[in-house]
């Protein structure tokens, strides 16, 4: 336990800010908020941006490290925190800031869950195109901080494209904002871009505004199968060059199929030790794309996609919810799995995926992959086989082999792997841009280096 918990004056000072009811320092309870082996000493739940600012000023004064938590769905990402005296919980920052259905704009506190946002928008047949997992727990702040990527980004863009305003508090407790609540706005610096994907190291996001979209009236999903990755990639190129404008375009490796069906194969390499890699049930690479529009639009897809399988209604929903849970399904079934997020220029897709498959064989792992074939955002799962226990070198070597197969400008970071292995290799990979400017930005926003200390690459 850190010194902070023992220090009753910190507790009473925080209580004066947020009220005692919104503090937890009970050790057994705090064990549930373990972040990669680090337990926070106090969980503090501020109810406003001003309270967040007051908490951060206290932390900065005493040089205490602050971990930020929303729904705890992404705390496995990155390096383990160096320390975390405070766990700043955003759940009370969940109030609606504005919702103007006629303007298709929506603003909400960072602690609001994706499911609660969806419930409000759906009343007006609108939605936020973020079809990510754990919607019941994942919060707006966490999704922004980790730059969550979802299949719908093919048609609607990423958070970078539809977050139009942001509220935050810097590491030294200054309340700030960028953007606004209109869809077009170039006043001042674009602070949304800085916050998205900064993994809580620049500021605590307290709220955000978004462009929202009319819900599609009718959709259908088409799944095409290919005997090889090369054929699948060629088909991807054909779709991208065609007049078709799908709202999703996902590539799914043969092995990934096991993790996107609701009741997958019971074989579990963690408990089942075959002498050699088991053949996957599914041998085809698949591309799945969703079309949205009128009967005439769907008829055109049917015509152009030939023998692709068409999914609609419940079957379609189940397919996509299975795909959404891929990450979780892998993690639940294989505690030793390593998951990596790959970002690359999209034409490098086939080479990068072949590289990942090859790295897996070399390191005695199974490889399951899926992701945004159009945007070049992919998830790779490596599942170690039969070696007991898997060695840190296996993860390190696999990660570097995967990185080596990326095109120029590509990057790959670890979303999840056993904590013990993280000490032995770089989970983020080298930064492709200028590190000194990133460091300057970090110091400008969090001079005391108290926010999510040690988690992110700078």
């Amino acid at each position: 336990m850190s010194a902070a918990a023992a220090d009753t004056s910190v507790f009473s000072e925080l209580a004066a800010i947020v009220g005692e009811a919104h503090l937890i320092e009970d050790v057994p309870t705090l064990l549930r908020y373990d972040i990669q082996g680090t337990q926070p000493a106090i969980r503090v739940s501020p109810g406003s941006a001003e309270e967040v600012a007051a908490v951060l000023r206290k932390a900065a004064e005493r040089r205490l490290a602050v971990a930020i938590a929303g729904g705890f769905t992404q705390q496995q990402v990155g390096d383990p925190p160096e320390r975390a005296e405070f766990l700043l919980d955003t759940s009370r920052l969940s109030a609606l800031i504005h919702y103007d259905p006629g303007d298709l704009t929506f603003g909400v506190g960072a602690g609001a869950t994706l499911a609660s946002v969806a419930a409000q928008l759906t009343q007006h047949h609108q939605f936020l195109p973020l079809d990510v997992a754990f919607a019941e727990r994942a919060t707006i702040g966490g999704l922004l901080a980790t730059n969550a990527s979802a299949p719908l980004r093919h048609g609607y863009g990423s958070l970078r494209d539809f977050c139009i305003g942001i509220h935050f508090v810097t590491g030294d407790g200054v309340v700030g904002k960028g953007g606004g609540r209109v869809v077009k706005n170039v006043a001042g610096f674009d602070l949304m871009k800085l916050m998205i994907g900064s993994f809580g190291t620049l500021a605590v996001i307290t709220g955000a505004s978004f462009k929202v979209f009319p819900g599609p009236r009718q959709t259908a999903t088409y799944v095409a199968r290919f005997a090889s990755l090369t054929e699948a990639a060629a088909f991807r190129d054909r779709i991208v060059r065609s007049a078709l404008t799908p709202i999703r375009l996902e590539i799914i490796s043969p092995r990934a199929t096991e993790y996107i069906v609701p009741h997958g194969d019971p074989r579990d390499p963690d408990h089942y030790h075959p002498p050699a890699p088991v053949p996957a049930h599914e041998t085809a690479w698949r591309l799945a794309l969703t079309a949205s529009g009128s009967d005439a639009v769907l008829a055109r897809y049917r015509r152009e996609l030939g023998d692709a399988r068409e999914l609609t209604g419940r079957e379609e929903d189940e397919f996509w919810s299975g795909l959404r849970d891929f990450h979780a399904n892998v993690a639940t079934r294989h505690r030793n799995a390593m998951l990596m997020q790959l970002n690359l220029p999209p034409a490098g897709l086939a080479h990068a995926l072949a590289g990942a498959e090859h790295a897996a064989v070399e390191q005695n792992c199974l490889c399951a992959t899926l992701g945004r074939a159009g945007a070049g955002s992919l998830l790779v799962a490596l599942i170690p086989l039969s070696v007991d226990p898997p060695s840190a070198m296996q993860y390190a070597n696999a990660a570097s082999a995967i990185r080596a197969a990326l095109p120029h400008d590509g990057s790959a970071y670890v979303l999840q792997c056993p904590i013990e292995a993280k000490e032995h290799f770089d989970v983020w990979g080298s930064t492709p841009t200028d590190r000194s400017m990133m460091l300057a930005v970090k110091r400008a926003m969090d001079a005391g280096d108290i926010l999510n200390r040690g988690r992110f690459l700078v």
Partner: protein
């Protein structure tokens, strides 16, 4: 320091024929597309990144301000040497460095004209989506600095949505790369942060842009209304019906008559307003949307026309794209505002603008991006008449105050520049500006890169406290 010597030293870097220092030459660079003026001390035209870096180092050493400039089509004074110093003209860095069709990317130099990029990409079935009205003259570097938009921003977003990587010369002359060809790169999104920073964070010397596939089908419609209010209400109704056109532009009666006389776009002279609506995408989708748009417009429109062919389509657009030029024929000067409002507030905002025009005894024309609520009220005045000029300023400010009062913004695409630096505090609290200023100082600690832009003078003129901030003076 002696000006003579800075010009001479610039010549050593870029060559004799690439530096201007005569007053007569410099006067061509004392204005942009807006109304303000500021005279530079020299203009240099580099041809390589290395030259840019050497110029920046020279200016840093001599403490001379440096202002990057593309075609000078900006309207907010962003490319003016407000405090004097050197203008860096990018007209000789105008090449396409790389075309990567498979990844739908191109790497271009900042001085490349926006329109030329799209023209060059057409043979690959691609184009660059951001299309400011000045796209036949404005440069990609200027688009990046101002985060420019245009009529098609409604569907495709502003410049930042189409830039994935930058080569940047920093304030100390170092050349760095932000981002690349991937949609996302590891670390902070410095590319996204840089776009729209109006030349205050560094100088972009190469830009990686995202290219968009040319649509299979395009349909352009003209809906004609008896009143501007009916047109404004139709904009709201289109949004409510879940229709997102590629572009949705409104011209009020006064503006369309002025435009028609100059351009002959085929707008009816007796209308109260017109909406110019463009739909793009798959043939089947456009057909379906066309029917839906006509159904919504016909509720309030006198007539809704669909352009029969490309020639008619181009003619309808010529009216919109040349509107500002046409206004120039009827008024000695005009002041273009660039406020943004939520789309649902268009009807009451136009009423409020009419009230302000009456109150200030001015003519205000409206031609704007109705789909995203980005207004461009054109306030006509005669700059020789001091009283008129003053009333114009008051009207401009009143319009922006109204925009803010309904949750809008003071600029949708032209930038803050020097024009709006004093009113930025109406939109952002002191603490918001403090954070922006800290970031500014981390990149531009001595405020020599495009000084006194964006931030109010009181902040910009202060002795920079960057030296005291921990972000200052960092090396890798």
């Amino acid at each position: 320091m002696a000006l003579f010597s800075i010009a001479r030293r610039l010549k050593k870097i870029v060559g004799k024929d690439a530096v201007l220092s005569d007053r007569a030459d410099l006067m061509l660079y004392e204005y942009d597309g807006g109304v303000q003026r500021a005279l530079p001390q020299a203009v240099a035209f580099p041809t390589t990144t290395e030259q840019v870096s050497r110029i920046v180092r020279l200016c840093a050493k001599e403490k001379v301000p440096i202002v990057p400039r593309g075609a000078g089509t900006g309207l907010s004074g962003g490319a003016l040497a407000r405090t004097g110093g050197v203008i860096l003209g990018f007209s000789r860095m105008n090449r396409i460095l790389e075309v990567d069709v498979a990844n739908q990317r191109a790497v271009v130099q900042p001085g490349l004209v926006n329109w030329e990029l799209s023209q060059a990409m057409a043979k690959h079935g691609l184009y660059f989506a951001p299309d400011p009205s000045s796209q036949k003259a404005c440069t990609i570097g200027g688009n990046v600095a101002e985060n420019s938009g245009g009529p098609h921003t409604l569907a495709y977003g502003v410049t930042v949505n189409h830039v994935t990587g930058l080569e940047v010369v920093l304030a100390d002359g170092r050349v760095v790369n932000f981002g690349g060809k991937s949609a996302e790169t590891l670390g902070y999104d410095l590319t996204g942060f840089f776009v729209g920073s109006e030349g205050t964070l560094g100088i972009a010397t190469a830009i990686t842009v995202k290219l968009t596939r040319l649509p299979e089908a395009v349909a352009t419609l003209l809906a004609i209304f008896d009143s501007v209010d009916a047109a404004a209400q139709t904009v709201v109704a289109l949004t409510a019906a879940g229709i997102t056109p590629a572009a949705l532009e409104l011209l009020d009666g006064w503006t369309l008559r002025t435009v028609e006389e100059a351009v002959h776009a085929g707008y009816p002279l007796d209308a109260g307003a017109v909406l110019l609506i463009e739909l793009e995408g798959m043939r089947e989708a456009v057909d379906g949307q066309k029917a839906a748009v006509v159904a919504v417009c016909d509720r309030l429109a006198r007539e809704t026309r669909v352009a029969k062919d490309e020639a008619e389509r181009q003619r309808l657009w010529a009216g919109r794209k040349n509107a500002f030029g046409a206004i120039g024929r009827v008024s000695p000067s005009y002041y273009t505002q660039d406020g943004v409002i939520p789309r649902t507030r268009i009807p009451d905002t136009l009423r409020r603008i009419a009230e302000i025009a009456a109150q200030q005894r001015l003519t205000i024309g409206n031609v704007f991006h109705a789909g995203d609520g980005n207004l461009h009220p054109l306030i006509l005045f005669d700059a020789r008449d001091h009283d008129q000029l003053e009333r114009t300023r008051v009207a401009g400010r009143q319009i922006l105050e109204y925009c803010l009062s309904v949750g809008g913004s003071i600029t949708g695409e032209h930038g803050v520049g020097m024009e709006k630096s004093e009113i930025l505090p109406l939109m952002f609290a002191a603490s918001d500006l403090d954070v922006m200023q800290r970031l500014h100082d981390a990149f531009n600690p001595n405020a020599l890169l495009n000084p006194q832009k964006i931030f109010p003078m009181a902040r910009s003129c202060r002795e920079t406290d960057a030296a005291r901030h921990p972000a200052a003076g960092l090396d890798s």
